[in-house]
């Protein structure tokens, strides 16, 4: 009996005009999004490789190893192979990192960019699922029950010896399957497109992440599917149901997540960047003033002066890191408040989970800041090592080296570390997304139970 109901509902859906419109839409959107993202990924990879080669060239042309302490290199983290699925915070994490031996790392935001990218949200798969597929799920089900009631076919179905619970379960299964089939098909096609048109190589961990991402998509879609059914089983007229579902969709997907950072900024005051800059400059100034006083005492002792210079530099670095860390810590509570407020919305939960799984989320962003500090010290150690070995190998001084028109690099360029930020490891990522999954699951259960109960008591006209 259940199978017959499922078959009837399924055919009902699939043969409707609505379904064909939505099928085309979901398919088109998902595939176009993957194609567009993969072309951008290709160009990112090209730019990254070019950047690495140029960095090597610049370093190779240095006449003496000591110049490593003066030169500024600009590099960025390797492109994220999962950015097709979700752009998230990838753009700001891929900003070029300027690195000097003495000045530490800084992320500079270039001025010359295409601002149209900022006016509209990036159309990644996350965006398609978050906004479009959720809307479609609601539009599939908003008149599942009240629409049939209006048309008179519900009365007809119930006049047969069919229990209500079988009917609602059958509707659920058929509707959900007919909804996710085009979606999964589109994702599959998109993956094929990606694998064919880009040089990306998904590691084992990547595949697990993609699998979890798709799982989250399916859970998220079913939240709206259930919500639509719930509204449909609670009202009499389908036009009322439509209004209610659209209103709920706007609240959950657009209003709450987008308002949460605004509200957070009012509730929690953040630290001031101006004060930070003041303290940083002052620290450096004081350190240099102390250096000048000490330097005079040392007279002509070049070795000692050099050592003093290094020590001053190291002291400035330490103070700088301390101030920056303090600042980041002070900014944390505000971000937490914003996340907390947005947890009411299923959409926000989905977006957090999806961005975390694709290495473009908030935790990855935080880890990048930590990695920057570590990289600074790794870089300095490596440079010191290189200078030591290079000076042991050739006793040429800086002035001599400048006079020579050298053709070969004086040290092994590859020994200078590349900026290789890898993101949050998989187990931590899963741990972070577990609460989001639980929330989505609870929404699903709650809405489905609600639908079930409502349908049992539904008054058919």
């Amino acid at each position: 009996m259940l199978l017959t109901i499922i078959k009837k509902e399924f055919l009902n859906h699939v043969l409707s005009f609505r379904f064909s419109v939505f099928f085309v839409l979901v398919f088109l959107l998902s595939v176009v999004s993957m194609v567009v993202m993969s072309s951008r990924y290709n160009r990112d990879v090209e730019a990254y490789n070019l950047g690495c080669r140029e960095r090597d060239t610049v370093l190779a042309e240095l006449p003496h190893a000591r110049f490593l302490r003066l030169v500024t290199t600009s590099s960025r983290k390797p492109p994220n192979s999962l950015s097709f699925f979700s752009t998230g915070l990838e753009p700001i994490m891929s900003q070029p990192v300027r690195l000097t031996y003495g000045g530490g790392t800084s992320m500079a935001v270039p001025i010359a960019t295409n601002p149209v990218f900022s006016l509209f949200t990036a159309p990644d798969l996350l965006f398609v699922v978050n906004i479009v597929v959720s809307l479609i799920a609601l539009l599939f089900t908003f008149d599942a029950i009240c629409g049939e009631s209006e048309h008179g076919t519900l009365k007809l179905s119930l006049s047969n010896p069919v229990s209500r619970d079988k009917l609602i379960v059958g509707k659920w299964i058929a509707g959900y399957v007919s909804l996710i089939c085009p979606f999964l098909l589109a994702v599959l096609l998109g993956m094929v497109v990606i694998l064919l048109s880009t040089s990306v190589d998904f590691s084992g961990e990547d595949r697990v992440r993609i699998g979890l991402f798709v799982l989250f998509c399916l859970t998220y879609i079913s939240v709206f599917f259930n919500l639509g059914l719930l509204v449909s089983a609670s009202v009499r007229k389908s036009s009322t149901a439509l209004m209610i579902t659209l209103f709920l969709w706007v609240m959950v997907v657009l209003a709450i997540p987008n308002m949460s950072p605004i509200v957070a900024r009012l509730i929690k005051e953040g630290p001031s960047a101006g004060e930070l800059a003041e303290r940083l400059i002052k620290a450096e100034h004081d350190a240099w003033d102390r250096y000048d006083i000490e330097e005079k005492k040392l007279g002509d002792d070049y070795e000692a002066r050099d050592k003093l210079w290094e020590e001053t530099r190291a002291g400035i670095r330490r103070e700088r890191n301390r101030l920056l860390d303090k600042y980041s810590d002070e900014a944390e509570p505000q971000v937490d408040v914003a996340i907390g407020i947005s947890r009411i919305s299923a959409s926000a939960n989905f977006v957090y989970a999806a961005t975390t799984l694709t290495r473009t989320g908030l935790t990855d962003f935080k880890n990048l800041a930590i990695y920057l500090h570590e990289f600074e010290s790794d870089f300095r150690e490596a440079v010191d090592e290189i200078i030591k070995t290079s000076e042991k190998a050739s006793k040429m001084s800086v002035t001599e080296a400048l006079k020579k028109d050298h053709r070969e690099p004086v040290f092994d360029v590859k020994k200078v570390p590349y900026f290789m930020f890898k993101g949050v490891p998989l187990d931590k990522a899963i741990y972070h997304t577990l609460p989001n999954f639980v929330v989505l699951f609870i929404f699903n259960v709650f809405f489905f139970l609600g639908t079930y109960l409502q349908f049992m008591r539904y008054k058919v006209h």
Binding site: F17, R18, V21, L25, L28, L29, S33, S39, G51, E54, V58, E61, S74, S75, L89, I92, P96, S106, M107, A108, V109, P110, I111, A112, T113, N114, V116, F117, S118, L119, F120, T121, P123, F127, L135, S238, S239, M243, F247, L254, N258, M259, P261, I262, A264, R265, L266, S272, A273, G274, E275, A277, Y327, A331, V335, S342, L362, F365, L402, K403
Partner: protein, 477 residues
């Protein structure tokens, strides 16, 4: 007759559930967002003032030209209050750092709340472009097809009412019911802004606020006309809503959002890292070449002369000459480097501008994109002001570097390198200051005429289409 029909349509909508929902959404979201973003803006204004103070302090405390050149100057434009309803490109706005060596850059804001990067800000622009446009479709989708389904259209036609009057009545009645909540919300928002003196709305700002509201009404008219047209084509309400949701998704989510990506496929720009590396390697090559061909032989020459010098006076003279030569050479090299950098960046800029032009062109197929461009331009948070500010930064950077070079040549900046800094000899009073004002309201308006015209054209086109279809089509069968 027309007046009665308009009244009937208007009341029908206003007394329905839809109007209630749109009132809640408009009044709720627009007024809340203006109220909260106003607080946000005041915070930003305070931060701007603190940052500018600290920048002044820093400049005053610099005791040598080389340090000033290395640390640079942090500059910013005063945040404009119209970013409260229309945040636009302000989200990308950062303090700029202008140094003596580098092209100006924005500093990554460590107080950046990264959530703002994941979810777009819910300002008035967002509410109108995304939510109210959907609402416009929701109000108009069953204007004709719904009545056709119900049978009331047939009833209406049985009266001595000409068809054109009917369709006009539907348009005006429905549109008025759509914009009433929005206009109320815009007025309340204006009142909120009026009673906040810290926000500081000037006359110019009020004019731009009014214009933004007018352009919003124009967008709603365009979208409403499209909805009405689709409604006349379809037989059932559910068909027209399906088509309209499809159009909404395409117009708001697909077309504008994909346009810059598609443009970047056809017009490829070099990444900022690439350009920087190009500039840097050119600079290193040039500096090395100057070292070899100009500095080294001159240094040898001076050393020889010093060796041959007889008196201490002569030695001192030659030393001074040598120092002056060094200073002038460094200044000339810096000036030449600046020009070389400009020459390297120019073609890249051209390519970027054509990519931007293509993105905008592709996106303009959607009326929502037209609206976003027009509203952000009028509110000083759009593309026009972005480029204007960028140009101002570049010009200031050149002025700053020229100032550094000139003073370096004169020797009024303190010593060379880290070995000996001559303190208290340097005074930053003559330094050029950064002062930026955005283009006037007339300039901004004339820049957005294309987009406003497109919206008007879209409205007229689809209204005529609905009109003609309604008059000629057999709707009663």
């Amino acid at each position: 007759m027309l007046y009665n029909l308009i009244k009937k349509e208007f009341l029908e909508h206003v007394l329905g559930f839809r109007f209630l929902v749109s009132c809640i959404l408009c009044l709720g979201m627009v007024t809340t967002s203006v109220f909260i973003l106003r607080g946000d803006y005041i915070n930003r204004l305070r931060m701007y003032e603190v940052n500018m103070d600290s920048s002044e302090e820093q400049i005053r405390s610099e005791n040598s030209l080389s340090r000033l050149s290395k640390h640079g100057v942090r500059v910013d434009a005063r945040p404009g209050p119209m970013q409260i309803p229309v945040f636009g490109l302000e989200k990308d706005h950062r303090i700029a750092l202008v140094t003596g060596k580098h092209f100006p850059e924005f500093e990554q804001d460590r107080s950046l709340n990264p959530i703002g990067e994941i979810f777009p800000v819910a300002d008035m622009l967002f509410v109108v472009a995304t939510i109210l446009s959907l609402l416009a479709f929701v109000v108009s989708y069953d204007a004709v097809s719904g009545e056709r389904e119900n049978g009331t259209l047939r009833l209406l036609m049985s009266y001595a009412v000409p068809r054109d009057v009917v369709i006009l009545g539907k348009w005006f009645g429905g549109y008025l019911s759509l914009i009433t909540p929005f206009v109320m919300a815009a007025v309340i928002a204006a009142l909120i802004l009026l009673i906040s003196p810290e926000v500081g709305f000037s006359m110019d700002d009020w004019v731009s606020y009014l214009l933004v509201v007018v352009v919003s009404l124009l967008l709603l008219a365009a979208v409403f006309s499209v909805g009405l047209f689709v409604s006349t084509l379809c037989r059932e309400g559910s068909t027209s809503i399906a088509v309209l949701i499809f159009l909404w998704v395409t117009g708001i989510l697909i077309v504008p959002n994909n346009s810059p990506f598609i443009a970047s496929v056809f017009v490829q720009t070099a990444s900022p890292t690439e350009i920087e590396n190009e500039v840097r390697s050119d600079r290193i090559a040039f500096t090395n070449q100057q070292h070899r061909t100009v500095y080294a032989p001159a240094q040898e020459d001076f050393t020889k002369r010093l060796h041959n010098a007889k008196s201490a006076e002569e030695k001192k003279e030659i030393s001074e000459e040598r120092d002056q030569f060094k200073r002038e050479l460094i200044a000339d090299i810096a000036k030449e480097e600046m020009e070389r950098e400009g020459r390297i960046r120019k073609p890249h800029d051209k390519v970027l501008m054509s990519q931007i032009g293509l993105s905008q062109g592709l996106s303009r197929f959607s009326p929502v994109a037209n609206f976003v461009y027009a509203a952000t331009d009028i509110a000083t948070t759009g593309m026009q002001c972005h480029f204007d500010y960028r140009d101002a930064l570049e010009n200031y950077s050149q002025d700053f570097r020229t100032y550094i070079n000139d003073n370096w040549k004169k020797g009024s900046g303190g010593g060379l390198g880290k070995k000996k800094e001559e303190k208290k000899e340097f005074d930053a009073a003559g330094m050029p200051k950064f002062n930026y004002t955005p283009p006037s309201i007339e300039e901004r308006l004339s820049n957005s005429l294309l987009d406003i015209g497109s919206l008007a054209g879209c409205t007229i086109l689809f209204f005529l289409a609905a009109f003609i279809t309604f008059i000629r089509k057999d709707l009663l069968g």
